[in-house]
């Protein structure tokens, strides 16, 4: 019994030492991503509706988003200053950190009818974003699956009003198509893509 206690104490002490020498703080990007958690949640897994989940976001898209915000191509009073800060801290480390975090789909409740209607309306979107909403790096289309519905809906409204990536020729056709879609359908699409991967 005594030997067991000593062994357990030793094991605990060893575990403690290990934690000190190679704790989570030694993961590149771990502390650099701290700034993001105020809005995007710890490890990028926010439970909020209007900001994107960063956990599991592919690094290429994270970096594209940061570049677009910093250059003003994606106007945002919040993300323009913060994207410049992310670049100062090291975008590669932060992108790699979030890409490696376990995906946590948004816990926001969804209406089943909206999801079903969104699925029906999603044919055109799937051509670029994929049947599973996982996106396609070759086409430059981001993953949509599991993002909060509020965030997805706001982005579609921004595209529709040409307030996201204004003047981007590559997106002209997408924006034109969105102009013909009413906001209720956009909300259904947001519910559908948010439901994927849950």
């Amino acid at each position: 019994m005594r030997a067991f206690v000593v062994a357990a104490a030793l094991a605990a002490a060893l575990a403690a030492t290990t934690a000190a020498s190679a704790g989570p703080v030694d993961t590149p990007g771990f502390t650099k991503a701290y700034s993001c958690s105020a809005c995007h949640g710890r490890a990028g897994a926010t439970r909020a509706d209007a900001v994107p989940v960063l956990a599991g976001m592919p690094a290429w898209y994270f970096k594209k988003a940061i570049d677009d915000y910093a250059a003003g191509r994606r106007p945002s009073p919040e993300m323009e200053p913060f994207s410049k800060m992310v670049k100062t801290l090291g975008v590669d480390d932060i992108a790699a950190y979030f890409a490696a975090q376990p995906r946590e789909a948004s816990p926001i409740k969804l209406d089943r009818t909206a999801v079903a209607n969104g699925r029906t309306a999603s044919t055109q979107c799937a051509a670029c974003h994929g049947d599973d909403g996982r996106g396609d790096q070759a086409k430059g289309t981001p993953p949509l699956a599991g993002q909060p519905p509020g965030y997805l809906l706001n982005q579609m409204k921004l595209f529709k009003a040409d307030k996201r990536s204004p003047g981007d020729a590559n997106l002209a056709a997408v924006k034109a198509a969105m102009k013909g879609v009413d906001d209720a359908t956009l909300a259904n699409l947001a519910a559908y893509y948010s439901s994927l991967g849950r």
Partner: protein, 429 residues
């Protein structure tokens, strides 16, 4: 719990005894008997202990993040309040848009998810040379101390304010006074006058008083259209987001703003305030936000500067310039070019936690800048914001950029809600 066991008696009388854990002390009722040797409330056997004074936005964040970063470090959080009540969004309680309950959170997450030990009491003194914190019943030793004392009020600077008590609430620490002020507003006569007094900078939450003006004015416009709000500002102009607030106030003809109108006297019996220029303003409800300084423990421990108000710190480690191994975070600090906001306090908590963990484990401290976002509710549905990004340059925090929202909108209200959801979890869950 009142029964005095022999073990507790020994501890209470200051005799050194080794007991397992802290639980035995927590409910002990007896005060120390006449002895010069104070009681070690929890002998430090981990060899790596961080004590955090204050469980607000900065302190609770710091306690959690130290544990998250290094599970081998023991963390004790000293906080007298049983629950965490969010100051951000508490102006919405005045307008009835939110309830105080919706802003009230348990500390359970810190304890259960992160293993933070919480002692529900107040620190009475700091002994940096002995690396000890004094409490009413004894002391705690630390290897590193994080002081997050928030603010206290310089009530004595306004004649009659202390005597007025809860009749003239500040409601500047979310809690019972917030509820009192909301009730006073609701019960105010239909043609009444609400006076809101803004203290001179620096104070907690620069846009807060102006957001409060919006919420009170919105409530009056909606419920008591014959009533009036008079804002008496000690400063020469609106000190945060002035153009955005003045634009928002266009919707409130019942709001009268008077700059350079520092309130120096309150007469609760006559229901009248006096400004430093001798102007007298009669009120039905008065909300006087007093001048502020760092929380009492920071002043008592002389962590404050020559002005006896705020604490200067190292911009990378948040170590006090006045005491070794003592770090100060949150609204009590001065010198870092960032506002006294919840977001900044949360940032400082993480950065100081990281610094402390690196220092305790003998590693170089990474240079991490804070961030700021201040969302302000200008009506029941619309929000505007200021955003600040920083970097570290030669060991000092410098601003990269400040950006304002182009106006107020329901979109930014969604962002504000998302921020609150995420940051409350970042602090406590």
């Amino acid at each position: 719990m009142a029964r005095m066991t022999r073990r507790n008696f020994l501890k209470a009388s200051g005799t050194a005894v080794v007991v397992s854990g802290l639980a035995g002390c927590a409910g002990m009722g007896g005060a120390p008997t006449a002895t010069t040797t104070p009681t070690d409330l929890a002998p430090n056997r981990s060899g790596r202990r961080v004590v955090v004074i204050g469980g607000g936005w900065a302190g609770a964040t710091a306690a959690k993040y130290v544990r998250m970063e290094d599970p081998a470090t023991e963390v004790i959080l000293i906080e007298p309040n049983a629950k965490f009540i969010s100051c951000p969004f508490s102006n919405l309680v005045l307008s009835g848009v939110r309830s105080i309950e919706s802003l009230t959170f348990e500390y359970d997450g810190l304890r259960k998810q992160h293993g933070v030990r919480i002692m529900r009491e107040s620190a009475t003194a700091i002994e940096p040379d002995a690396r000890r914190v004094r409490l009413e019943r004894g002391f705690l030793t630390y290897d590193r101390l994080i002081v997050a004392p928030g603010i206290d009020f310089q009530t004595e600077q306004i004649e009659g304010l202390a005597a007025a008590g809860d009749r003239v609430p500040h409601a500047w620490k979310a809690g019972p006074q917030t509820v009192t002020l909301a009730r006073q507003l609701k019960e105010m006569p239909d043609d009444g006058v609400f006076v809101l007094s803004v203290p001179p900078a620096a104070y907690r939450c620069p846009p807060g008083p102006y957001e409060r003006a919006c919420q009170v004015a919105w409530y009056l416009k909606t419920r008591k259209p014959r009533a009036k709000l008079i804002v008496l500002d000690a400063n020469q102009n609106v000190i945060s987001k002035p153009a955005l607030f003045r634009a928002a106030w266009q919707a409130y003809p019942n709001l009268e703003y008077r700059a350079s109108s520092k309130v120096v006297k309150v007469d609760a019996a006559a229901r009248e305030v006096t400004t430093e220029f001798g102007d007298k303003v009669r009120y039905d409800v008065a909300n006087v936000i007093p001048p502020q300084r760092a929380g009492a423990i920071a002043v008592q421990a002389d962590l404050v500067g020559a002005d006896k108000r705020w604490c200067e710190v190292n911009h990378v480690t948040y170590e006090s310039v006045k005491a070794k191994d003592v770090h100060v975070v949150g609204d009590a600090t001065i010198g870092i070019p960032a506002p006294k906001s919840g977001t900044v306090a949360n940032s400082m908590g993480k950065i100081a936690a990281t610094a402390v963990v690196h220092l305790l484990t003998g590693r170089p401290v990474p240079e991490m800048p804070p961030i700021n976002t201040c969302y302000s509710w200008v009506s029941d549905t619309e929000v505007m914001a200021v955003v600040n990004a920083y970097r570290i340059d030669n060991g000092k925090v410098v601003q990269i950029e400040q950006k304002l929202t182009p106006g107020q909108s329901t979109l930014y209200a969604q962002h504000a809600q998302a921020w609150a959801t995420s940051i409350w979890a970042d602090i406590l869950a």
